[in-house]
């Protein structure tokens, strides 16, 4: 590889130092170098414009379906066996007895000597939420809401199918968030499939999504 070719490669990668840029500019005054440079630059641009066939929307589900089943280790099976739900027969007497035990437990617990201090564990977990929006013909769909200060130019949905099925995933901590979609940078649209709504104070409705700790276990509401 000649010095010119090495510099050309770095130039196309945007990785030339100022000194190298000067050296490269000097080499480009040679007609043959200029011709080679123009041809490579055009080929690179051509490659950058190549489109990809879209992925099937079920790609991820199909991957998960192909994952092999894993046999849980013995201690997990023992644990499951211990905690697996079972049907219980009950009557009024046993229910009253159980209620009395539950009611008395806090009193016994407080009176018990040497009780360890109560520890509150703050969870730092998040739930990844996928926002979907149908917008056939739209060039661009953005998502904004409480989670990003209502900035309409930060979170953009992608249309992987090319047919207006826009989606984006977002990690969210437990809480209740209002949000809107912004179509083509101009139209603010309320999610028609939101789980709840509230007035935005301007005569429209904001969509709402609620993430609570139960979502961490169940994944979907």
């Amino acid at each position: 590889m000649t010095r010119f070719e090495a510099l050309l490669e770095s130039h196309l990668a945007g990785a030339l130092t100022p000194d190298e840029q000067r050296e490269f500019a000097g080499l480009l005054t040679v007609d043959e170098n200029r011709r080679v440079f123009d041809a490579h630059r055009r080929t690179a641009r051509l490659l950058a414009g190549v489109s990809l066939p879209p992925l099937y929307p079920t790609f991820t589900e199909e991957v998960l379906a192909r994952l092999p089943e894993q046999r849980a280790p013995w201690w997990e099976r023992l644990w499951d066996a211990f905690w697996a739900p079972r049907a219980l027969r009950w009557n009024l007497a046993s229910a009253v007895a159980l209620s009395l035990v539950i009611a008395a437990s806090p009193l016994v617990w407080k009176a018990w000597p040497g009780r360890p201090p109560e520890v509150l564990e703050h969870s730092s977990v998040v739930t990844v939420v996928r926002f979907n929006f149908e917008a056939a013909g739209a060039r661009q769909v953005a998502l904004c809401g409480d989670f990003n200060g209502w900035q309409p130019d930060q979170i953009f949905l992608s249309d992987t199918t090319g047919r207006g099925h826009f989606s984006v995933t977002l990690p969210l901590k437990p809480g209740r968030y209002a949000y809107m979609f912004v179509v083509d940078g101009a139209s603010w649209v309320t999610d028609p499939r939101a789980e709840a709504y509230r007035d935005d104070g301007f005569g429209n409705q904001n969509a709402l999504v609620t993430i609570d700790d139960r979502d961490l276990d169940h994944g979907e509401t």
Binding site: V50, V63, V126, R193, E195
Partner: protein, 200 residues
Amino acid sequence: MSGAERLDAHRADEGAIIARCLAGERTAYAVLVERYKGLIHGLVYRMLGDAAEAEDIAQDAFVRAYLKLGEFRGEARFSTWLCHIALNRCKDVLRRRRRVPWLPLTDEERGPFSEAADDVESPVASLERRERDALLQRALAQLPVKYREAVVLRHLEGMEFTEMSALLGIPAGAVKVRTFRGREMLKRLLERAGFRDDTI
């Protein structure tokens, strides 16, 4: 179903997600698949040149990565490690092929959304784009694998030389050489194929 769909992920952090997968929680892997499916599918498609096969091999690469998660040490980025597995799968497939690994893509092979661009393109522009893409893909498929992977990673996946070096296991200087030579060959192949565009 509400407009907001939750993916079962306790933590957005990849290390934590991998730990959950290793603990047997298969659904946690969906987060990683969602994140990198475009990257891996693009890489595999460019290497193999067949849409239907690319989807299958890309899925297979994700499955293999899942089975090897215990070997991932975090020394490279997870995406780089994943690309390494996908590239090896592509090379396995290409080794088994005994003829030029390219067939013209039919609409059926492109999948049910192949006409997607028609929504915004004129029929003529759409046809020209497909012809150009097919010609490029055919030329790519004729490149020797070591040059093809360099061109694909650099120009179609947008990787930097340092990342390519880690992925391919060769020095960055060698990566530059392969990329340059690959592009040079590609240019000649396109010229030989009578590429009508003035861009070559």
